[in-house]
Amino acid sequence: MKIQGYGGNGWFITKMEQLINWGRSRSPWPLPYGTACCGIELMATMASGYDIARFGAERPSFSPRQADVLLEAGTITKKMTPVLKRIYDQMAEPKWVIAMGACACTGGVFRTYSTHQGIDSIIPVDIYIPGCPPRPEALLDGLVKLIHKIEKEHPLRKQAQALLQES
């Protein structure tokens, strides 16, 4: 199976990809998984002062099937890791993960027997936001970075390559 576009480097597919990326980047519905202090800053970001809704990330989807971005805010303990993994696995593609706060990125100050040292050893992380807890501006910045990242993806090309490999 061969995919050809109108002139240029796959013109049609490129335009389609741009459209899809536009849609995806304008409505990243978050799954706010705030476990600790960062959860409060996450609330502050959702509240009126910072208003995460401006980026379309307004509808918090607590059901993993409906979410696009796993906003992991806070410490993940070893008791919690299976839960986090399962939630990530339940989310539908395409999915992104933002690790908010030092604990989520690296384990933070809690280098102890019960704290998991960074969620990136369980699930792939797209954006790391350092800080303990990060300011809402930092979270918004991370979200914008994620949006830019989404805009540069090639959703169709990935599929096409997968198809080519299959056939």
């Binding site: 070893k78 008791k79 299976p82 696995d89 280098r111 102890t112 027997y113 019960s114 369980i122």
Partner: protein, 187 residues
């Protein structure tokens, strides 16, 4: 009448020792007489310690190690006496009591030796002791006799070891969890 005397009168011979640090009074009672003593403290008309703030477990392992290692007193002791003396109880459990009427606080302490780690539960007196006792069971491994639902509280069920013991490292020891799914059989 100050608190110390009242406590001594109330507990009589059960009060092994009464200490004062920074204005707080700690009374040590024998582990076997714990429930009786706490009941007496709760019922006594002069004391009325009717509120249990918390139950605290302490592991004194490092304290002995240090004494053995550098304390001059330990070195000077005659060696034969050191061998004969039974090992000091490793664990302590502290009950924080509060009297709502007079707002006085009292700490009741029992000592739990390592070879007999069973303590009577006080959940029959205060329901508030339920979770703190479970927590001590979880983190120190001390059993509570008569606790309605003694199981791990903070750590997960399959966890091995008791993290707050002094011989447990801050990080390490078999608590990593494998994160793979079983191949699920669907229908």
């Amino acid at each position: 009448m100050n608190l110390e005397r009242r406590v001594r009168i109330c507990l009589e011979s059960n009060a092994l020792s009464v200490e004062e640090t920074a204005g707080d009074i700690t009374v040590t009672v024998p582990a076997g007489r714990l429930v009786d003593s706490l009941m007496a403290l709760k019922e006594h008309p002069d004391l009325k310690f009717d509120f249990l703030s918390d139950v605290i477990g302490i592991d004194n392992l490092d304290l002995f190690r240090k004494k053995k290692g550098k304390g001059k007193a330990a070195e000077e002791e005659p060696p034969e006496k050191k061998v004969k003396a039974p090992p000091p109880p490793r664990f302590e459990i502290v009950y924080l009591l509060l009297s709502l009427e007079s707002s006085e606080r009292l700490r009741v302490k029992i000592q739990v030796p390592e070879n007999d780690m069973t303590v009577d539960s006080v959940t029959s007196i205060w329901r508030a002791a339920s979770w703190p006792e479970r927590e001590i069971y979880d983190l120190f491994g001390i059993n509570f006799l008569g606790h309605p639902d003694l199981k791990r509280l903070l750590m997960w069920d399959g966890f091995k070891g008791h993290p707050l013991r002094k011989d447990y490292p801050l990080e390490g020891k078999g608590e990593t969890r494998r994160l793979v799914y079983e191949q699920e059989k669907i229908r």
